[in-house]
């Protein structure tokens, strides 16, 4: 999976949790929580789906690294490559 495919995949996961993620032009570098209405339950569902679909373990301590779309893409890319 290249970076563009991964980005689309993560957006799809996010869009299933918070539909506005697909309707809004997200700034990929800015925190997701500043742009769409997601709470701690939504974020847990996002992490759960990424873990299940992509097989990437995401310890709680790493949550801050997934706070933006770019951050999530880079984090998962690095984990997939490892």
């Amino acid at each position: 999976m290249n970076e563009a495919e991964l980005r689309e995949r993560l957006l799809a996961i996010l869009g299933a949790i918070a539909p506005e993620a697909r309707e809004t032009e997200l700034d990929p570098a800015a925190p997701l929580r500043d742009q769409i209405d997601i709470d701690s339950m939504d974020f847990l569902n996002f992490v759960t789906a990424v873990h299940k679909q992509l097989g990437v373990p995401i310890p709680e301590l790493d949550y801050p690294r997934l706070s933006s779309l770019d951050g999530a893409v880079h984090y998962v890319m690095a984990k997939l490559a490892a």
């Binding site: 539909p19 929580r33 709470d39």
Partner: protein
Amino acid sequence: MPSLGSDMESGTLVEWRIRPGDRVHRGDIVAVVETQKGAIDVEIFDSGVVDTLVVQPGTEVPVGTVLATVHGEAEAATRPAAPKPAAGPPEPTPTAPPPVAEAPVRPAPAAAGPAPVRASPVARRQAAERGIDLTAVSGSGPGGAVVLADLASSGRPAGGKPPRAAPSVRQRALELDVDLAGVAGSGPKGAITVADVERAAGAPPAPAAAPRAPFEPDAMRRAIAAAMTRAKREIPHYYLSTTADFEPALRFIETVNAERDPDRRLLYAVVLLKATALALREVPELNGFWRHDRFEPSTAVHIGVAVALRRRGLIAPALHDVADKDLDTLMDDLKDLVQRARAGGLRSSELTDPTITLSSLGDNGVESVYPIITPPQVAVVGAGSVVRRPWVVGEGIAVRRTVTLTLAGDHRVSDGHRGALFLAALDRLLHQPEAL
């Protein structure tokens, strides 16, 4: 039509889940009803055999209207062969309001026919207005529920780019019932502006004003306002606040979660819920209902959990029997409850059962909330965002994560002294999370 909250005046029967002749048991889901709070699965509160379905799907009726008649168990047993009055109409249920509200639902295993399509209330309404068959739309929402965005793509030629519009513009379009796909944008890069939406809403050829739907955002806001106005008028509130060291509880959760895959991790909300339930055992006059000018305490603790419904307001359905469940069970139940609150599928008992409410602000950085009691409850607990503060530990100062806990109580039932004991108990319980 059952009353699903003190603010509800009417509801629309969406579908029956039972047929005449079906045997139903207390708690079975018998019908789906649309209210200001969305599509609700209505449970029957009596057992018996369905006689007649009185109200047809699609009909809006006031609270208290007979939806269906059911012969009770006793009735069926004691006079099995009692001839019915000749050719007369089926006798209505004997007493007026109570046994009436059965919205019958077949017991789950008897499932005949296709499962109902899961869809958010807004999506359901839009689909109805635009003549879209929900069964033909693939849902991208939680549990495969059809959400508004799915309809947007189904109404447009495939491949079309979604219109550019900021969230505030989309909210306005939702309020004015404007389909953004048909609006020309005058903003940067062709983005649709609020003015474009309002122009489209005002233009003569715009889709005729939609029939007033019971769950449009405005209606929900009005329902919340009505309930809160009543609360402020009738309930003599008192307020208390305390800031608690949340470090022990958060460290406990982090230790548990470190060993777990994401799908089994806990949120700190479950610790707040359980501690609240246990603290209520020490101050039971905060748990129950004010009805008929007296307090009815509740032995069970069913906590109404305030859930924000993206762009549509707020709802606080009950998490049942919180005091009796362990944290893992509470987490599973909370996930399920939040998902159904947002995607549709709350049950009627979840709207009427809360014996107290918990409003947790989450991570938005605001330190405290002064919540309003939802009648007929007599208290509400608030939890602000987790904030790092300098904290006195022994003779020194340390940085600790803290949470500000608030309580609004009803002076007709309790007072600040008893309320303070509750908050003190809550604080103490949060310091022993492993015991929860």
